[in-house]
């Protein structure tokens, strides 16, 4: 049966109906079983939340300059945090040279503001370049030399050291990782196989093992008269380990570039190198930036492992603070320090994670 239909008047677009308000009762208690589960979980959250607030706020001790300020373990010992923030922030950096540290922190903060404001000038290439150049500049400024007195990395510590290790790792791991990823696709078998062996080897060994090897074994292999301080060895270990991680990320990005792109580049007369530089890499790197931010989050958290091999990172600074004569006392004091640390890492890493989400959404 066919009928012939002809529309006489076209339909104008109308507004979509307003979204209905969220019905909490139906969301939390759709069936009795789920309702019970919801109630249980909510009670659990409420009780543990209340207990935590009791410990962290209500019964907390806020001021004081020794363990005597925090008797008992009913409340958090924030006095420990407020009294020791300086060594946690900068380690044993000489007080008269602290302006160098503040410059680094300020520059880093400005850099992030520039990145986050999404200005036209903050293209991905420039941001990545900044992540490679900034650590170098920081390192030179912090270690000094020339007119500035030299401050050995053994004196750096706390958040400063964590920041520098993270940035230095990033600045070296990214280029090395990119080279490894390209090497893995090389036509030369020796290059290809050495890259594969390195990447797969690093990925199959725990980071802590790599760190111990760097801390204890590497000095044995160095030529006589040539020494590397623990800090540098740790950074090298971090860089090589994370280069292997970055290599896999870059490899994924390179694989995502279709054959058509390379063919088109060939047919407009580009050489293999120009194709790589102008067509393949810009697309591949843009595609993997969110994954690179995830690597950065991992690096930040991994830096806490430095405390195990005796580098004075943020975690290590907190622990040694609790061992200092003034603060020997309840275990609660160190616990407060750990909770504070957790909050710091949570803020930084969650922030970065949000940033990575935003980058992903922009694509």
């Amino acid at each position: 049966m066919t009928t012939h239909f002809v529309r006489q008047r076209l339909i104008d677009p109308r507004f979509a109906p307003a979204a209905a308000p969220i019905d909490w009762r139906r969301m939390l208690f759709p069936t009795p079983a789920i309702g019970v589960l919801s109630l249980l979980l909510l009670t659990l959250f409420a009780v543990s939340g209340w207990r935590f607030v009791q410990w962290a706020v209500v019964r907390a001790h806020w001021v004081g300059d020794s363990a005597e300020a925090c008797p008992g373990d009913a409340g958090a010992c924030w006095a420990f945090v407020t009294a020791r923030w300086k060594p946690w922030l900068v380690g044993n950096y000489p007080p008269d040279q602290l302006w160098r540290v503040w410059i680094c922190f300020a520059a880093f903060a400005l850099f992030w503001i520039w990145v986050l404001r999404r200005s036209q000038t903050a293209s991905l290439q420039r941001v990545l370049l900044g992540f490679v150049l900034l650590p170098v500049a920081f390192f030179v400024l912090l270690i000094g030399g020339g007119p500035l007195p030299v401050v050995a990395p053994t004196l750096w510590g706390g958040a400063l050291l964590t920041l520098i290790v993270t940035l230095a790792t990033f600045a070296t791991a990214l280029p090395i990782g990119l080279c490894l990823a390209l090497g893995r696709r090389s036509r030369m078998p020796v290059v290809r196989w050495s890259c594969i062996v390195f990447v797969e080897g690093m990925r199959s060994v725990p980071l802590l093992t790599v760190l111990f090897i760097a801390a204890t074994l590497v000095p044995l292999f160095l030529p006589r008269g040539f020494t590397m301080d623990l800090f540098s060895r740790a950074v090298v270990a971090f860089a090589l380990f994370n280069a292997a991680m970055a290599a896999e990320v870059f490899r994924g990005g390179l694989q995502a570039i279709g054959r058509g792109q390379i063919e088109a580049a060939t047919t407009v007369g580009l050489s293999d190198f120009a194709t790589l530089r102008l067509i393949v890499l810009p697309q591949a790197i843009t595609a993997v930036v969110p994954a690179l931010v995830n690597i950065m989050i991992a690096v930040i958290k991994e830096t806490t492992l430095l405390s195990v091999i005796g580098v004075n990172d943020l975690l290590s600074a907190v622990e040694s603070g609790a061992r200092s004569p003034a603060w020997i006392g309840e275990a609660n004091i160190l616990t407060s320090g750990y909770v504070f640390l957790a909050a710091v890492y949570l803020t930084v890493c969650y922030g970065l994670s949000r940033y990575s989400r935003r980058l992903e959404a922009q694509r």
Binding site: Q261, A264, T266, V268, Q283, T286
Partner: protein, 257 residues
């Protein structure tokens, strides 16, 4: 073109001599002998898998071959002499337009056009900009200069791809099913661009199923099947007096709808 001089072997812009190609054990091109004269428009058609795409991709060495000899725009390569240098030399003189456009998505239209001449052939920037502006006007996309490919329709993207190929000043342009992935309403704008190119005397090898285009534009139509050239004729003969039964049944399939 009717003149015999342009068909003269010496004026050939591309010459394929007994070219054979295998994908693994699959014999994709079988004893291909073909000459393209300067200024000639050749349309290649045939069922899918017949080797027509492989044939045009062999002309600019995107696909290597295992036997035979290829002579394109003054570059002469045997099957065992296909090097990167040879491929680059050929690609500086031969342009290509792909079925999937293959524009560079991270570059604007203008950047797509100029990247090849600047970085591939070292043409000075101001000269390239003039070229690009000229060819964008030629394909009617002057107002899209600073847009990204994703902001354009399929037809516009393919016209940009044509302009990009033209910007390298090719002596021969290969078209590999340029309208096959376009919505029907966009096929015409691309075909018209190609027709006006043909009218200007550009040498073209076109793989397409657009039989109307073949009839209007081609000097010669080639029918391929199973990796071989089955029939070659001027369009009138090709469509109205086809000889081989294979071509007749193919045309019956293609032209019936």
């Amino acid at each position: 073109m009717t003149s015999d001089i342009t068909r003269d072997a010496n004026a050939a812009i591309a010459r394929m001599q007994s070219i054979n190609k295998w994908y693994g054990t699959f014999h994709a091109l079988r004893d291909i002998d073909l000459q393209i004269a300067s200024g000639e428009r050749v349309v290649i058609c045939g069922p899918s898998g017949s080797g027509k795409s492989t044939l045009v991709r062999t002309v600019n060495l995107l696909e290597p071959f295992q036997q035979g000899r290829l002579h394109v725009c003054g570059v002469d390569v045997g099957a065992d002499e296909i090097t990167r240098a040879a491929r680059r030399a050929v690609n500086r003189r031969v342009g290509m337009v792909f079925q999937q456009f293959n524009l560079f998505p991270h570059m604007t239209v203008l950047q797509n056009l100029i990247v090849g001449p600047i970085w591939g052939s070292g043409v000075p920037r101001n000269e390239v900009h003039e070229l690009a502006t000229h060819y964008l006007q030629r394909v009617g996309l002057t107002d899209q200069t600073h847009k990204y490919p994703a902001q354009l329709s399929g037809g516009q993207q393919q016209r940009v791809a044509i302009a990009r190929a033209l910007c390298t000043r090719p002596r021969l342009i290969l078209f590999d099913e340029p309208t096959a992935s376009l919505d029907p309403e966009m096929v015409n704008e691309v075909l018209q661009t190609m027709e006006s190119l043909a009218a200007e005397g550009m040498t073209m090898m076109v793989v397409t199923h657009e039989m109307g285009f073949a009839r209007r534009v081609a000097d010669r139509v080639i029918f391929m099947d199973q990796g071989q050239i089955i029939e070659t004729a001027p369009p009138d003969d090709f469509f109205d007096r086809s000889q081989s039964p294979r071509l007749r049944s193919f045309l019956g399939q293609v032209l019936s709808h």
